[in-house]
Symmetry: D2
Subunit: 163 residues, 4 copies
């Protein structure tokens, strides 16, 4: 289909440190476990309720992989933008199973750190890596996030699906 958009925007905290994997082809990917939550007052009981959602995030862009490895930690708060992707596989009983991930790869992927002070680098001029240059002032599209992993390599990760 032409003319489609597939976009996810999340702001939340990491439930654990990022996990890196290297492909045989040299590429790298990082997975995050990101929590978002919402609160509301129950309509009938009037009590506070809360629901936490856990998102599996897969970072494929070379630039964003670097940012994630360097600056993200368990507890980090981030803004991110990616795409939905659902993978399907058969469990031992031959049943179809599905896992949906938020993939940051290629264009229109962003990762912005929202923590005050990460204790890491002097200044975190890395953040917003995927959302930066802009053409309005001599921008430079050359150093941004790039699709890194390739399809063949990706496939052999199918078995670690249930996050």
């Amino acid at each position: 289909m032409s003319g489609s958009v597939n976009k996810v925007i999340l702001v939340g905290n990491l439930g654990r440190d990022p996990e890196s994997r290297t492909f045989q082809t040299g590429g790298k990917m990082v997975t995050l476990s990101l929590a978002t939550s919402e609160r509301w007052k129950d309509r009938t009981s009037g009590e506070q309720r809360e629901r936490t959602e856990w998102h599996r995030v897969v970072i494929m862009s070379e630039g964003l992989v670097t940012v994630a490895e360097r600056y993200l930690r368990k507890g980090s708060k981030v803004y991110l933008e990616g795409q939905l992707r659902t993978r399907k596989w058969q469990d031992q009983a031959g049943q179809d199973c599905y896992a949906t991930e938020v993939v940051l790869g290629g264009f229109n992927a962003s990762l912005v750190l929202l923590d005050k002070a990460q204790g890491g680098p002097g200044r975190n001029d890395y953040s917003g890596y995927g959302d930066t240059p802009g053409a309005g002032g001599g921008g430079d599209a050359g150093s941004g996030p790039e699709a890194a992993a390739d399809a063949g390599a990706r496939d052999d990760l199918d078995d670690d699906v249930p996050f």
Copy 2:
């Protein structure tokens, strides 16, 4: 967690007619099967490739349920905005399975029809139902989308998960 955002924006076409279900409690929900796709040139082979992603969309907001039932059909193109929600259940083999849906319910859900002429109403002044009023000119927040279904009712739908 305070301070989180969970947002999905999709533009795509319906793979089949919307499906409605009524809860014992009187509420209603509609599910959509929405396709988005992307094309790119393969880096190595140079050939055109295409990948289609299917999204399970669940509409809970009363207003948006009405819009969906009335104006959406197989093939309709829509813009929609909702939240990610993953449900977990056990298959017969006792394995954990997951299904992620895009839920349109409560605030910040939108459904905007993008087809030229739906053949339905004289003018499609329904579209953008969830994205409209605005306060900038005597807006009216009273007739908008509202959370409809309740959790217990939702549970008995678990068996139709693999979309």
Copy 3:
């Protein structure tokens, strides 16, 4: 036109404290001055460059007005979602002038505080006010953000346009 979307998403810091105004009709609005900035390496010179953008944000939703007054201060970091609106007026020389604002009013407006500790309330269960309930668990759409100000009242603010 049917079928349109007008959405702005910003993450940035307040340049000064929020400013409140009360309408004769009793409604209230709050304006924010929000900075976003981006950095990039100049393509030719190779030097770091930075560009800061200032956004005039107008909050009309009753609920979000309350949140802004209570918890936002100069320096606060926020995620917000609103709509673009351009107002036009004549300056003394009879020239057309324009001012574009990001308006948070009606549906699909959000304000999420991103600061670690605001020093205010025990817990900041206010944040995400406009992005919360969700229908997936007995949600309640009744207490959310609502369009507050009315058009007539708004008009007499036209003179403070150049922000």
Copy 4:
């Protein structure tokens, strides 16, 4: 500031054909005049009201410039994603004037055609140019949108601001 996001998402129709300009430096930019509108029922009078908003859109990305020139026409419906940028200048009376544009340049800019049949190319495999590859299947970031124009060149366009 690190950690900021400046994003605009619009779906609307072009009020006139795209306008192209070439810089002395060889770069190109295209401007669009895009309408979004919303309808609501007036709270007091109960009558239908409508408000149309016109957005000035500036496309700087090389790839998106090409797409815009080739496939967009007056009346075209598009989804686009860009950034807010406000420019300031003095009118003849020495008054400060401002113009805010939605800029599509650099990363995270998208332009997706939503018309059924543009009468142009066999299939519109151009659309979604800025939102496509994705790393999940042998993606290719090399042919995407790039920042094109430079700042000096941009400046001599200041006089056509009031759109």
